[in-house]
């Protein structure tokens, strides 16, 4: 009896905790959603209301009917997908080397790769800008894609190496005794069983590329190359904010990442362990 009432208490405690946490995490986002349906003049109405009489989809329609803003979304998709695919390929190759080979510069390269995560992006802005211009990558998809890879690769490599390390070496060694090349062993044996880890790296990479702001702003200068975060910022004029449109675009901009997460959360959460525990 006591254990039953204890478990009831525990359960309600857990539910209470979840609700409290849910409010902390969710209420600001709920407010973002609600603001996206308001008229700009109602944004700071006092008292604040979740749903106002001016409820409308106007902000969304104005985003969708504006070819420039639609283009922001297409750019974001193109860039984020390219970054994800290229990062995965590159990171898998590198992680394979780290996980399965011993070589003289291993430690040094590892330190450099981890160290790169520590390089504060803004400080590189000025030389970086000149470099991208010199490489003729200014205001191009390639410039953005390669730049984002520099930021996504270190973590992707660390996570993939960790994942490969959890897989017993006997697996690929067995394949290689059978005459498969090391490259073949990687693609035919390791990659298929690492799929959960790969999905988790992919989601992570996509998120970084989709959300990046500072370099997208600096390395592009025409609307046909800009991405969603910049599009949102463009709605902050010199003189006014279009709150409802900013919020609508924020909602729309967050949906792809949210969908990815909801679909792949199992893989994602599993993959994080590999990266974090065993890297």
């Amino acid at each position: 009896m006591t254990s039953r009432s204890q478990s009831v208490a525990l359960k309600s405690g857990a539910i209470f905790g979840l609700l409290l946490g849910g409010c902390f995490a969710g209420l600001p986002i709920l407010w973002m959603l609600s603001s996206s349906f308001k008229d700009n003049s109602e944004i700071f109405a006092w008292p604040p209301r979740l749903v106002t009489s001016t409820f409308s989809f106007a902000a969304y329609t104005s985003v969708f009917t504006d070819p420039v803003k639609v283009r922001f979304f297409l750019n974001s998709y193109f860039v984020a997908v390219s970054v994800t695919v290229l990062t995965l390929i590159t990171a898998i190759l590198a992680a394979y080397a780290f996980s399965r080979y011993e070589f003289r510069l291993k430690g040094a390269i590892n330190v450099v790769i981890v160290g790169i995560q520590a390089v504060p992006p803004i400080t590189l802005l000025i030389p970086y800008f000149g470099l991208i211009v010199a490489l003729r990558l200014y205001n191009s998809y390639q410039g953005l894609i390669l730049t984002y890879m520099v930021f996504t690769l270190p973590y992707a490599i660390v996570m993939m190496t960790g994942y490969f390390n959890t897989l017993p070496r006997e697996l690929d060694e067995a394949a290689r005794v059978d005459g498969t090349t090391s490259f073949g062993a990687l693609w035919r044996i390791l990659v298929p069983i690492s799929l959960p880890g790969i999905v988790s790296v992919a989601v992570y990479t996509f998120m970084i590329a989709w959300n990046e702001y500072l370099f997208a702003l600096t390395l592009t200068r025409t609307d046909n190359m800009r991405t969603v975060p910049i599009g949102i910022q463009l709605l902050m004029g010199q003189h006014s904010y279009k709150w409802s449109e900013m919020m609508a675009m924020s909602v729309l901009g967050s949906i792809p990442v949210l969908i990815l997460f909801v679909f792949f959360q199992k893989f994602f959460i599993g993959g994080m362990t590999a990266g974090a525990v065993k890297s």
């Binding site: 000025i126 000149g130 390639q142 004029g237 010199q238 006014s240």
Partner: protein, 437 residues
Amino acid sequence: MRAQSRASRVMVVVGAASALSLLAACAGGEGSPVGAGAADKKGTAADGSVVLELSQWWEPELPKGALRGIMDGFEQQNPGIKVKLISAPYASTQQQTVAGAASKTLADVVGLDGAWVNDLAKQKAVTDLTTLMKDAGYDDSQLASQIKVDGQTYMIPVVNFVYPMFTNDDLLAKAGVAKPPTTRSEFLAAAKAVSKTGNGNAGWILPLAQDAPNGIQNDVMSWVWASGGSMLKDGQPDVTNDSVKSAVSFVKDLYDAKAIAPGTLTMHEQDKVEQFTNGRVGMMIDSLAHITLIRENNPKLKFSISAIPAQDGYTGKRGMPYASWGIGVAENSKHKKEAWKLVQYLMSTDVNSKLSSVANAFPGNTKSVPDFVKSDAKFKTAFDIWNKGVPANEFTGLPTAEDLMRSFDEQLQQTLANNQPVDKSLADVQAAWAKKF
């Protein structure tokens, strides 16, 4: 063994190939799927015509298609020249201009703020317009003003935005203030009265965010200029004089009386306009350009425009703060002659009238008259104020003007929030500024 060494060889080749292909992707350069195309590579389009780039923050501020329409007019008049607009909000344009100046990739024609000119000219990023005007045989007498550095013109103000005082009629009436204040003491009394009406209302609003410190120019120094004061003496900083001191003390009085809307220390210009539009603020000093915006966002708001109050007893000419959309030509442009044609077109009487009409600004050409002066009573008032006063913006053309505003901002915040004596703050500003001149 053989299998393994072949594998090794394959691996090395694959690795090298993928590295190369990455580089090849780079070498592809600007040839992007739908992107900029070949046009901006050499500044010439496929049909051999010259493509001029015009970078500015104006397009997002204007009605949709307005600037493009004006450019189409230019292209019609000048077959063989095409204009490509590069538009971004003010802050990003500023950042890109700095970065572009450093890497010699500025657009041919660049939109400029008076605060940037000195630095860009010293850096040799923008070209000397005096020479261009001479080469083109241009008569500059119709230009209302030119921004010079070391005697040469580097920027021409295309249109000007005046900063008068906006007052919320209903709020003032509720606070028992019959008409907009004309002196500082009337203003202080009115601001206190409005703040006392409760409901989160405030008498005045002052944006002092340090990341965009132009509130110093628009909302603080404007008090100095309105009373005929100055922050310079013979082109050198002079912020410890009585006119600046009295204006800063006045702002401090307002702050201590809690007559200024909360959040001042990190507030942006946009917040100021927003709060006034929503009827929470009795008075603000703001760009005339916002009349349309305020009307659009809150058609019910009743407001008036008047000159910025002066020191009690002051009868001289009132300095009228203003900000400009200026224009200059990049030193790295390969088409300076064509670029000048575009500047000349924008400054021509009709085009300048048209641009100032859509921007709700005052023209940079003395002969231009914008439509709204005839059709809109509020603008008529403002135009009269403008014509009666003298345009004043002492930050234009100063070295690292934005940083001057920021160091002033820091000290003002010390005075407001930390009760640092006004004299000490201004002395510190003077010392900081002196290093920059």
